[in-house]
């Protein structure tokens, strides 16, 4: 069960996507059975892979750097858990939420394709396969954003499609430049032959293109214009996947892999990533404060919270990277929880406007508990998980003598708190509008996901030291030890 599980995490969702598409013509409800089944299998596989020693899987018997190779290290294991965990809860939630759509089997097929693409991105051992899987995930997400084919959704989807394709092409261009310099696309081989990246002007050019492309995919300011349109327009489970996982797997993960494992983390590039993060935290939260559309507010907070992750990663110290990865995990849990809550509110009340809500605590108790847990986590109140990761990031920034960045991060934490006090004030308490007297709580599959994610938010806050030791420090080690990565892939003494 060891190595073979790696390609299976990509192959199984793809196989099920095709199965759902073929059988969906005759039996429209097939997706709501096969989709969760596939998500459960890959979640199980990613927990199996968590226990496996760091290893590689060689495709078709061709030895790297000539053949294609899949690499499993601490960072990939962490990303697999995040991707497949959130995908599982979102797809369970979708069973009830998507039942009102006519072509729901197409939703499940696209959703599984997106998951397959992201699993491929985090396991791929060469740059070109990373690009191909990134395009699979991106194309599925472009289609999912416009899934409702209403005018706003189409507009947001088209904007996202154009900007996302530009980012993808720029990434391909960067890969072509790297190939021109080194004559290989295998990441470990590139790292082995490229030497000091700051001495070669073409490598600096390629790095700039990579940062542009991956930052756009991650939604960092100033490349964020598509995100507040695209994330709210999608159906709620897709919003949860886009904000919770997609911007991390295609953006932050790929950025980490290229800057640390391939290019050896030059300090100039790290400080660029750090300041991109600092600017994103500030701009995201300032734009979020004035929003009354619940999902749009959450999307702006995604920009802000991804800024925290980039800030932690950009510090380049083990503490900073571990804290950044911890915040990435936490953001995946609480932001997908909040988007699923917003979807539950929208389904019950028919609106996303906070000003038209109020007093929903009495009518929608479980959704309200979820909103409460998510809001408390994202605003950074103890003992929920957001508190620990934010304070660790700020402490790491202080330890690296980045006082301005630490000050901005602290200020943004208060801005986030203010923004979510507003959310709770408008949606949960206050007088209940007359039209909502007969509201019912959402069906079981939706409340199950909400409760499960709330509990994860609480548990990962209470037992964060255990999580740090088992997940985030191994991932940090994998990021920082470039020579170990090279020797593992190429099978030579590093």
């Amino acid at each position: 069960m060891g190595n073979i599980a790696m390609p299976l995490t990509v192959a199984i969702p793809m196989l099920f996507a095709v199965l759902i598409l073929v059988t969906g013509k005759f039996w429209r409800g097939v997706g709501s059975y096969l989709g969760p089944l596939a998500a459960f299998i890959i979640l199980y596989l990613s927990f199996v892979l968590l226990g496996v020693k760091d290893t590689t899987y060689i495709m078709g018997g061709w030895i790297p750097p000539i053949g294609i190779v899949m690499v499993l290290d601490g960072l990939s294991k962490l990303m697999l858990i995040i991707i497949n965990g959130i995908a599982f809860f979102s797809i369970i939630y979708a069973i009830s939420y998507m039942s009102k759509y006519t072509a729901q089997f197409k939703f499940y097929a696209l959703f599984l394709l997106m998951v397959a693409g992201m699993n491929g991105v985090v396991l791929s051992g060469d740059l070109f396969n990373l690009f191909v899987f990134l395009e699979i995930a991106s194309l599925a997400s472009y289609a999912l954003v416009g899934f409702g084919v209403e005018s706003e959704e189409l507009e947001a989807g088209f904007k996202y499609l154009i900007l996302g394709s530009v980012a993808s092409i720029v990434i391909l261009f960067a890969i072509a430049v790297v190939y021109n310099i080194t004559g290989t696309v295998n990441m470990a081989d590139v790292a082995n032959t490229i030497g000091n990246p700051m001495l070669n002007k073409a490598v600096i050019f390629a790095l700039g293109l990579f940062i542009f492309g991956f930052s756009l995919k991650a939604g960092l300011v100033p490349f964020h214009a598509w995100l507040p349109d695209a994330h709210p327009s999608a159906p709620a489970p897709v919003s949860a996947m886009l904000s919770g996982v997609l911007i991390k797997a295609l953006g932050i993960y790929a950025l980490i892999r290229v800057t640390f494992s391939v290019m050896g983390a030059p300090t100039e590039i790290l400080s660029i990533i750090m300041w991109l993060g600092v600017v994103s935290t500030l701009v995201g939260v300032l734009l979020a404060l004035g929003q009354y559309d619940l999902k749009r507010l959450l999307a702006y907070h995604s920009i802000s919270q991804m800024g925290y992750v980039a800030l932690g990663i950009g510090l380049g110290t083990p503490e900073g990277i571990a804290a950044g990865l911890f915040h990435m995990f936490n953001h995946a849990t609480f932001k997908s929880l909040l988007f699923l809550d917003a979807g539950s509110f929208e389904q019950s009340t028919g609106t996303r406007d906070l000003r038209q809500m109020g007093g929903l605590m009495k009518k929608l108790p479980i959704t309200s508990i979820g909103t409460l847990a998510g809001s408390v986590s994202i605003s950074g109140l103890p003992p929920f998980n957001g508190f620990w990761s934010k304070i660790l990031i700020i402490a790491a920034a202080l330890a690296s003598k980045q006082y301005l960045a630490a000050a901005i991060a602290t200020f943004v934490a208060f801005g986030t708190l203010a923004s979510f006090v507003k959310v709770m004030r408008f949606s949960l308490i206050g007088p209940l509008p007359k039209i909502y007297q007969n509201l019912k709580e959402s069906p079981f599959s939706m409340t199950f996901s909400l409760l499960a994610l709330s509990i994860i938010c609480l548990i990962s806050g209470l037992f964060y030291i255990f999580l740090m030791d088992s997940l985030f420090y191994p991932a940090t080690n994998a990021i920082l030890k470039q020579s170990a990565y090279i020797s593992m892939v190429l099978g030579i003494g590093g």
Binding site: F128, G157, F158, L161, I162
Partner: protein, 116 residues
Amino acid sequence: MLLYILNMLVFGLGLYCLIAKRHIIKKIIGMVIIEYSVNLFLILVGYRINGIAPILSPGENPIVFSQVAVDPLPQALVLTSIVIGLGTLALMAAYSIKLYEKYRTFDMSEINRLKG
């Protein structure tokens, strides 16, 4: 160096078309031009003047062969990238049809209901 300048020229042309034109179809054409500039760059990276096809016939010396044959890897990469580009193009065309059905226009500046 000439390679980079040539590529950036075509890339810039596509980017201009994408940003400055308001018609959706023209934007899509700009997108395709950008895509092809990168494909062209990849092909030219592996090209060798007066090179031969990269097929090793029996009895040929591999070292001499590797000096004269063109690099086959970029061609394989470009094939993949063209197929991906086709998928993106199809999706963009589908989007533009649906947008026209909803807004009754191809002018991107009139498609602006999202704010905030």
